[in-house]
Amino acid sequence: MDVYMDNNATTYMKKEVLDAMLPYLTQQYGNGSSKFYKIGRVAGAAVRDARDVVAKAIGAKINEIYFTGSGTEADNWAIKGAAFAKKDKGNHIITTQIEHHAVLHTCEYLEKHGYEVTYLPVDEYGMVKPDDVENAITDKTILISIMTANNEIGTIQPIAQIGKIAKSHKILFHTDAVQAIGHIRVNVEEMGVDMLSLSAHKFHGPKGVGVLYIKNGVKIDNLIHGGGQERGKRASTENVAGIVGLAKAIEIATENLDENIKKLSYFRDRLISGILEKIPYCRLNGPTENRLCNNANFSFRYVEGESILMLLDMKGVAASSGSACASGSLDPSHVLLAIGLPHEIAHGSLRLSVGDNTTDKDVDYVLEVLPPIIERLRAMSPLYEGVERREN
């Protein structure tokens, strides 16, 4: 049995999305900027319609939507673009310790170029305190970038509150909402953000296409210079099919939002309660409230995450881990460390993220195969020896 439990990493593409894209992968191959002939106008109109759909989905205006080549590019653009554009005003950026690497590594790069970055801590559930944001503001602060929802432990941040703070201090506010679409209501007005990043493949759209929302009036430097596409702000021949796919996917995701949330939360909660019940020495990482409806994250003491993933894979279950080994890096997940987990516990983490095609059977299956896997690894673990002995 094959069970896909890594929807925070990527999602399958919906048939409706592919169907919407196919004309632009076949006959309608025109360049979206070639307006002097029909096949180009058809492509251009498709991009315009897509822009309109995206704008509506997030409560923005059509001319506030810029298509990019990924969520990462959108994050890089927002942060570097703002930093470079405002460099005469200041050099201080506020973000958090639990951002995606697309934000963190961009900020670290800017640190090498004379910017100063405050990486705000989070509480044990991964929550940022709005007060901390306000207290971190200096007269050099030019940008606040705080993610809408965390990709590892699902924490949903108090973006609207932070948005008010940013506005009252007249500081640009960017949010990485890559994990949010289809999982919580995303409305740029309500959130009070100046910039917002999206990535299609996280909500059943194609890979390699994203969006940066930039509020009208906000001026940031370009990241990708060249032709006049995207109203002169993001050059490159438009990825027409990808853009159309993104729009179809966000349309479906937002149309069915409430239903989706209900369905995904149900599976997530079954996983959480089932695993906590069946497996000892296990903790849930991240909050129980204000949590992404599709994300569950656990730490299993005395075992290491990559081994769990490998044994799950042998059973046909696809999942991910914040273990250092699994990521190929040296330290376990910065998010798990930021919520205060010791390294050894962070190494034993497992993220299960449900999706649109998750079934009760999938959940049953995971609840069936996971406990013996943990059991088996613990039986091999020198750290567990003492625990067993103490118990017996």
Binding site: Y302, V303, E304, E306, S307, M310, L311, M314, S323, A324, C325, A326, G328, S329, L330, P332, P342, H343, E344, H347, A379, M380, S381, P382, L383, Y384, E385
Partner: protein, 142 residues
Amino acid sequence: MYSEKVMDHFSNPRNVGEIENANAIGEVGNAKCGDIMKIYMNIEDNIIKDAKFKTFGCGAAIATSSMATEMVIGKTVDEALALTNKAVMEALDGLPPEKVHCSVLAEEAIHSAISDYKRRMGLSDEEKNCSGCCGRCKEENE
């Protein structure tokens, strides 16, 4: 990413467990780094009669523990000391670059167990200079 041999030793690890009354026990690595290997041996007449392991760590850590214990069983102490991490890797048909440290850990675990044996036997006061860690944690993040 892993060779078939690695997958085989990971999914059917040889020599998992403890040896009661082992006369050589070595433990290397630490939980912070995400790998601990503990090797138990029974050494008689300078020959490794039995070896078992317990490992907390990734697939490669488990597979190298399994392979290393298998390779030293039946060997003399000196032969076992001559076992290099390269030999373990080769026996596993290679490891991805970021997993080479696991084979180093296996070599060190064998050495550590044999040092323990020598100490117990009063055969040597020479302490094997093992950090208890493969050094990976200190490597620079490239």
